[in-house]
């Protein structure tokens, strides 16, 4: 005897497609529009202008080291003739990470406050993280068809667990006496959240965001398989054509993009703390 989960899931996917098509279409359109907008914005100025802008931003966020690193990373992508693909990938990661954080952050705080919520979420997160990523791509492609949207959706599924786990950990780790202080001075729960818990949780949250970005980037590359474009498509092309040079160039560009996003996000969140 053989049990075929597909026999159950396929009708569900079909049913979703048949009954929720308008909603799914709207989601798809919104994601595509936002992605397109960001891509357009990135590609609008000549590459050297954008590199200069990012370098300045890097200085503001993290100092000289960040500036040099950011400029080198982007220059590499440009020199290797992977500028458009890199910008596509960055846009994709930005959108996916923003949505992942939007989902994971509030849920993570909720789970940190209620043990039961965490108990329910934990196995779900385990499954989300252990199922091979391209398995998500299948239903995502069936529902949203080929292109960038299923890639974003699959990336979100992959990016939520680390962010959620570390958000819960971060908020659990806020010292009890600091929370008691907030109550003892008559602070509102929202004030305690923003002025006491959030600053105390930031170091762990930065790790969570960093993991979210790196895992999303890994997924976005894989999403090259479903026609998401970007650096993933270049890597896939290198693989299918057995072009070692192209594969290596695109692979290193992914590393460059990862470094860039990691350092900038870290600087943005931690920079003020050194003051």
């Amino acid at each position: 005897m053989r049990f075929d989960p597909g026999a159950f899931i396929a009708p569900v996917v079909d049913w979703l497609n048949a009954n929720f098509h308008p909603i799914l279409a709207v989601i798809s359109d919104v994601i595509e529009a936002v992605l397109g907008g960001i891509e357009w914005l990135f590609l609008l100025p000549p590459p050297f202008v954008l590199i200069a802008l990012v370098a300045v931003a890097g200085y503001a966020l993290g100092g000289v080291k960040t500036t040099i690193l950011a400029a080198l990373c982007l220059t590499y992508c440009w020199v290797m003739d992977l500028w458009d693909a890199s910008m596509q990938t960055i846009a994709l990661v930005l959108v996916a990470v923003t949505i992942s954080v939007g989902i994971a952050f509030p849920l993570g705080i909720y789970a940190a406050r209620h043990r039961r919520v965490e108990a329910v979420l934990r196995p779900i997160l385990d499954v989300m993280q252990t199922v091979p990523p391209w398995v998500y791509l299948i239903p995502a492609v069936i529902i949203f068809s080929l292109g960038t949207v299923p890639a974003v959706i699959a990336t979100i599924v992959y990016g939520v667990p680390p962010m959620l786990r570390l958000t819960t950990l971060a908020f659990r780790g806020v010292p009890t006496d600091l929370k008691e202080l907030g109550q003892a001075i008559g602070a509102k729960p929202r004030t305690i959240l923003f002025k006491i818990e959030l600053p105390a949780a930031t170091p762990t949250l930065v790790v969570g965001l960093n993991q979210c970005i790196l895992l999303s980037l890994a997924m976005v590359v894989l999403a090259g398989l479903v026609g998401a474009g970007g650096l993933g498509a270049e890597v896939t092309r290198g693989l299918t054509r057995m072009e070692m040079g192209l594969g290596l160039r695109a692979g290193l560009a992914i590393v460059a993009v990862a470094l860039l996003l990691d350092r900038l996000s870290r600087g943005a969140l931690q920079g003020r703390r050194k003051a």
Partner: protein, 355 residues
């Protein structure tokens, strides 16, 4: 002080921890179960059992107990950081367990300051911002709150450190910031949860004296938690001894040392120096029990402590001192009475007259 307004009135308060605390409380009220019964029958831990105390305006009230005695739980019941299972806590006549969230926040912000053992300073804020934090969450404008915080920091001697960060300060200085933060909001009552326990002995003594002086100067009331009886005696106007969640004796340092309620308290006070605690009126014997002439004896005040009496008696050739109140001799303190006093035994012992 007996006539001063009662600021905190804690009436038969219980705190029971555990999943079945409601049932446990029910059993305690209806059957009078003991702490041990509650643990055995309901698996619940009694944190505070039937604690009653009053803190009056201008008074420093020390709660002394060893770790696990429930003193930290008790102090958190006073500002409802922990909900009492049973009993009422009145702050300035208002039952805080009946307050809604907004009223409770207002009471905490305006009337009750708190200082923590771990100091609980926010590491990303400088000293001034930390001291002003209580006012900041009340929505007080920056200029005004910074002025109040700077004034509070000046009171604790940290005017030169406002721009520094907590990590740059020593433990003693950090705790001064904690105290300044509590003072900045100008509350009538300050709850001190073992504030000096983690400090070096020398710094601790210095802070104890400063704290007592400052509290008296500003006319604040304080509830001060400590596991150190010496500290309680140095600081407290009244002391409550806590054991297994219950207050077993409440009184002045002299009451507790001279007349311990039970063996536990007696063991505790055994090592305490009586020199500054016991006063002439406690060790003196009536004039009638004194054989010799009274008129030639040097005079002393009934409130003079043993240390002062010993100094006085060794400077003169007399064997005894006459205790004089309102121009009348009310008793006699002999060398023998002083020695008994040092051991913590009260006078009024006729043998004292033999000397």
């Amino acid at each position: 002080m007996e006539n001063a307004e009662v600021l905190i009135d804690c009436q038969s308060v219980w705190k029971v921890f555990g999943d079945r605390n409601a049932e446990a409380i029910e059993a305690i009220t209806s059957q009078g179960l003991s702490k041990r019964d509650v643990l055995r029958d309901y698996g619940c831990v009694v944190g505070v059992s039937d604690a009653s105390l009053q803190v009056r305006r201008g008074e420093i009230f020390c709660i002394m107990g060893l770790s696990g005695s429930g003193k930290s739980t008790l102090i958190r019941l006073l500002n409802r950081l922990i909900e009492p299972s049973l009993g009422t806590v009145l702050v300035k006549g208002q039952d805080i367990s009946k307050m809604d969230a907004a009223a409770l926040r207002r009471t905490r912000a305006e009337h009750i300051g708190m200082v923590f053992q771990s100091v609980a300073l926010l590491p990303q804020r400088n000293v001034l911002e930390n001291a002003a934090f209580g006012l900041e969450v009340q929505g007080i404008p920056r200029d005004e709150r910074n002025r109040a915080a700077a004034a509070a920091l000046a009171k604790v001697g940290l005017s030169d450190w406002t721009k520094h960060y907590p990590s740059e300060l020593s433990g003693g200085m950090q705790q001064r910031v904690g105290l300044a933060r509590a003072l900045a909001a100008d509350p009538e009552i300050i709850l001190m949860d073992e504030p000096f326990s983690a400090l070096d002995p020398l710094i601790r003594r210095q802070l104890q004296d400063e704290f007592r002086q400052l509290t008296k100067e500003l006319g604040k009331s304080a509830v001060f938690i400590t596991h150190d009886l010496d500290e309680a005696i140095r600081i407290g106007d009244r002391i409550a001894i806590m054991k297994d969640g219950a207050l077993i004796q409440v009184g002045t340092a002299e009451d507790i040392v001279m007349d311990p309620a039970d063996q536990y308290v007696a063991d505790f006070v055994a090592g305490i120096s009586r020199l500054h605690l016991i006063k002439a009126h406690s060790v003196m014997v009536p004039v009638a029990d004194w054989d010799g002439p009274v008129d030639d004896l040097p005079r002393c005040d009934p409130e003079a402590d043993i240390d002062a009496l010993i100094a006085q008696i060794t400077e003169t050739s007399a064997d005894a001192l006459a205790v004089e109140e309102d121009g009348r001799v009310v008793g006699v303190v002999s060398v023998r009475n002083l020695l008994l006093g040092v051991r913590g035994e009260a006078g009024a012992d006729p043998i004292g007259a033999e000397a």
